[in-house]
């Protein structure tokens, strides 16, 4: 499997190299005629198409270096290639599309199909999607491509409270209604869900992302109960977009071979996301806040919280937009991210004192975009991490430098 994927990757690279000298490949321009929402992220990517072949290729690469110090201790400078992602899309027939996203993480240590679905468009308000779907919880999960962000690291709340990038096998519906400056959209999916790793994992806390390594979810449900994900979003052309989403289901194996093992235990995640551009000064603001509720057995440790919350706010201000170093319409942005994640909302039964286990982070940064598809970025990160008991926070600071580019 790995060999096959690597072969596809090498072949796709070879073709990409040739396209610069040949007319064989042409770039498929992103469709900017319609108002795009977060849910359109999988369509809103640059693709390359070979002649009249119905298959388009694309992808992106991220490479970083980082230097962090925690309370005076550092592991020094390190370099990472956190992911390289390959997109393959095809219009099978009019109003029938195939889209996929294959991710090679950490230099190929992990290879996963993040997204592979077939979309059947029946009506703008009624489209069917099936396959491996990216659950639309919050905005980041669907809109996670590295080149779209001014920050090297993904937001903690989106990756460690919500499990971005999280996808499962399932089916669903989506649709959109637009009128003048206004568009409303919805998505609804039933898919395989989480497993009990979310409260039994090496993170020592409730951690939805602990279910991600379980690839069995692409072929069978852990407990036979579907995970439901629903999202609705509103966008006004001049104001911005706001999305409300929910994802919920049973995470434990409550029954096996007809025998009842435990009660049904739910996990529910709620999120609100928004993005907007302030007119005239072109300040881009995006954010997401989420809540996760988990029915943790009363017999289990309070270390595993039954409620988590967190979010991030990104502010990106273009400083310069002109020809720079020979690149037309280059942009220099200054950016800032504020992050907060609380992994265990609640109080200790023993003392009635607050349970901590939270992180607060501030991330200022600069980015240079020679084109909208490529970002070179430098971030400074400072975060405070407080343990469960609320002992003095571990303070970490560091600088991250890297790039991310579609190809």
């Amino acid at each position: 499997m790995k060999t096959t994927l690597l072969l596809i990757l090498i072949l796709s690279f070879t073709k990409n190299f040739t396209q610069s000298d040949s007319a064989l490949f042409k770039r498929v321009p992103a469709d900017t005629s319609k108002m795009k929402l977060n849910m359109d992220a999988v369509y809103n990517r640059p693709f390359l198409q070979a002649g009249k072949l119905p298959v388009s290729l694309g992808g992106y690469l991220e490479a970083n270096s980082s230097y962090f110090i925690t309370d005076g201790v550092t592991d020094g400078l390190s370099f990472q290639v956190p992911r390289m992602t390959l997109f393959v899309a095809s219009s099978i027939k009019k109003r029938i599309k195939f889209l996929s996203e294959i991710e090679f993480e950490e230099g190929g240590k992990e290879i996963s199909i993040e997204f592979a679905s077939m979309d059947i468009e029946l009506h703008p308000l009624l489209n069917l999607r099936g396959g491996i779907v990216m659950n639309p919880i919050g905005a980041f999960n669907q809109n996670h491509d590295g080149p779209k962000w001014e920050f090297v690291s993904r937001p903690l709340s989106a990756t460690t409270i919500l499990p971005a990038t999280w996808s499962t096998a399932g089916f669903g519906l989506f649709g959109k209604y637009a009128h003048n400056n206004f568009v409303w959209a919805y998505e609804f999916y039933a898919s395989n869900g989480f497993d009990d790793k979310i409260i039994s994992n090496a993170q020592n806390r409730t951690h939805l992302a602990a279910s991600k390594p379980n690839r069995d979810r692409f072929e069978e449900s852990f407990n036979g109960v579907p995970l439901i994900t629903a999202k609705t979003a509103f966008r006004h052309r001049k104001v911005g977009e706001i999305g409300l989403s929910w994802m919920g289901g049973i995470y434990n194996k409550f029954e096996d071979d007809g025998l009842v093992l435990d009660k049904r235990r739910r996990v529910d995640a709620f999120a609100i996301d928004f993005n907007s551009v302030i007119p005239r000064i072109k300040t881009y603001i995006t954010g997401e806040w989420c809540w996760v509720l988990v029915d943790v057995p009363g017999t289990y440790s309070q270390q595993y919280g039954s409620q988590q919350q967190g979010g991030f706010l990104d502010i990106v201000q273009p400083l310069i937009k002109r020809k720079l170093f020979g690149w037309e319409n280059s942009t220099v942005n200054v950016a800032a991210r504020l992050e907060y994640t609380d992994y265990n909302v609640g109080t200790f039964k023993e003392t009635n004192g607050t349970i901590s286990d939270h992180i607060f982070a501030v991330v200022p940064g600069l980015s240079f975009r020679p084109s909208q598809q490529t970002v070179i970025r430098v971030n400074y990160r400072y975060h405070w991490q407080t343990d469960l008991l609320g002992n003095p926070a571990a303070r970490t600071s560091g600088i991250q430098f890297g790039f991310s580019t579609y190809f």
Partner: protein, 398 residues
């Protein structure tokens, strides 16, 4: 002009970012005397590697049902109960029950001696059997344990005064315990009627750190080893869920954790004098010395733990109704006072002192002393406010 300004801004911001990230301006390490963790000085490179192995096993290894947790347990990692290697929090307390005199534990068939009050999904945790007398215990700090391990039995017995021969109202006896077969007796270990001197645990029931560690894996986390193979849930022998090498690494880590360093001793001299004048030092011995020891840097050293490693009757107020070894229900091994002032940094910003954490300040801990500590407590109560403050400052400096 506007563009030039922007360039300057960009350059300045970038320079600031680079500066902020460099090691000199990044978050500083706390001063050595402000931390409880870290190795003793003088370990060889090989010993440091073993220390790090133990550190990771102790603090990073999280047990789940897949790697052996439970099915019933108290905590799922060593670090859960010993944040920063300091004293525990009421959340991490444990309960022992069923042994109220020298006849042994009456509730072994009901889950004794320790209550595993948590369970993995699908299992029921233990509940305290009706009528069982129990004791709530907070995890003690781990620091300096190697020094305490290296004190010779003869030195411990030299501090004992079981019949109060000197008439000071303080006796002090060793806890004679049966040791498991895997214990490796220290040189010149003294034996009486098949028993040896215990020195770890709130009542000094564990002979050494191997026993303490293997027992903690078994009783606290439900992790069976070749040392403690009996599963707490099934009460039957099961295959080891942790290697001997991992256990030995943790033991080495505990032996080589540094001793707490007193902060600004010159400024608390008057408090130290009050401490001595009250008679506290009769039990909380300031200075001990180690004997020959398998880890060279710990051998034949003088150190300042403020304990005599002996049992003392602390009166009815601290009678927990539970015995271990030859300790009676009101007897407690003198806790080391070193690191006392840093306790809050591992207890979520509050003091939870005494064996069960019921004292939320140093003063309230002093006032809970009874029995052999009664006289010192009364002496404390008659102190002036200044002397009381000086004493507390001294204790906080330890």
């Amino acid at each position: 002009m506007k563009m030039i300004k922007r360039k300057y801004i960009v350059c300045i911001v970038m320079a600031c970012l680079s500066l902020l990230a460099c090691k000199k301006t990044g978050p500083k390490a706390a001063a050595e005397e402000e931390l409880l963790d870290g190795p003793v000085e003088g370990l060889s490179g090989q010993e440091k590697e073993q220390f790090l192995k133990g550190d990771r096993a102790f603090n990073n290894d999280i047990f789940t049902k897949e790697n052996g947790l439970g099915p019933i347990f108290v905590a799922n990692s060593c670090g859960s109960c010993h944040a920063g290697d300091g004293k525990g929090h009421p959340f991490t307390s444990l309960i022992r029950f069923g042994q109220y005199d020298s006849t042994g534990n009456q509730y072994l068939d009901f889950g004794g001696p320790q209550l595993q009050n948590r369970a993995i999904p699908g299992y029921n945790p233990e509940v305290l059997p009706l009528g069982a007398r129990s004791s709530k215990l907070l995890p003690p700090a781990n620091t300096g344990l190697g020094y305490l391990d290296a004190v010779s039995d003869a030195d411990i017995l030299a501090m004992a005064d079981p019949y109060d021969a000197d008439g000071d109202g303080i006796s002090g006896v060793a806890n004679w315990v049966h040791t498991p077969s895997y214990c490796d007796y220290r040189a010149q270990s003294i034996e009486r009627n098949g028993k040896h001197i215990g020195r770890f645990g709130r009542k000094g029931a564990a002979y050494d750190l191997l026993q303490q560690t293997a027992n903690a894996y078994n009783q606290d986390m439900g992790i069976n080893s070749s040392f403690e193979p009996i599963d707490t849930y099934s009460h039957s022998e099961v295959d080891p869920e942790i290697s001997n090498a991992a256990i030995h690494s943790v033991v080495f880590y505990l032996r080589t954790l540094k001793a707490p360093i007193q902060r600004q001793p010159a400024k608390v001299e008057s408090g130290r004098q009050v401490f001595t004048s009250l008679g506290c030092e009769t039990c909380h011995k300031a200075q001990l010395k180690t004997g020959d020891y398998k880890i060279a840097v710990l051998a034949n050293k003088t150190f300042y733990p403020y304990t005599d490693l002996l049992l003392h009757d602390m009166g009815p107020g601290l009678d927990d109704g539970y015995t271990e070894g030859s300790a009676t229900t009101a007897e407690w091994r003198t806790p080391a006072l070193w690191g006392l002032g840093l306790s809050k940094n591992s207890q979520g910003g509050n003091y939870y002192l005494m064996h069960d954490g019921r004292a939320t300040s140093i003063e309230s801990a002093i006032l809970m002393h009874g029995g052999e500590g009664e006289k010192s407590k009364l002496n404390y109560q008659s102190l002036s406010v200044t002397d009381k403050n000086n004493l507390i400052q001294f204790l906080e400096s330890l």
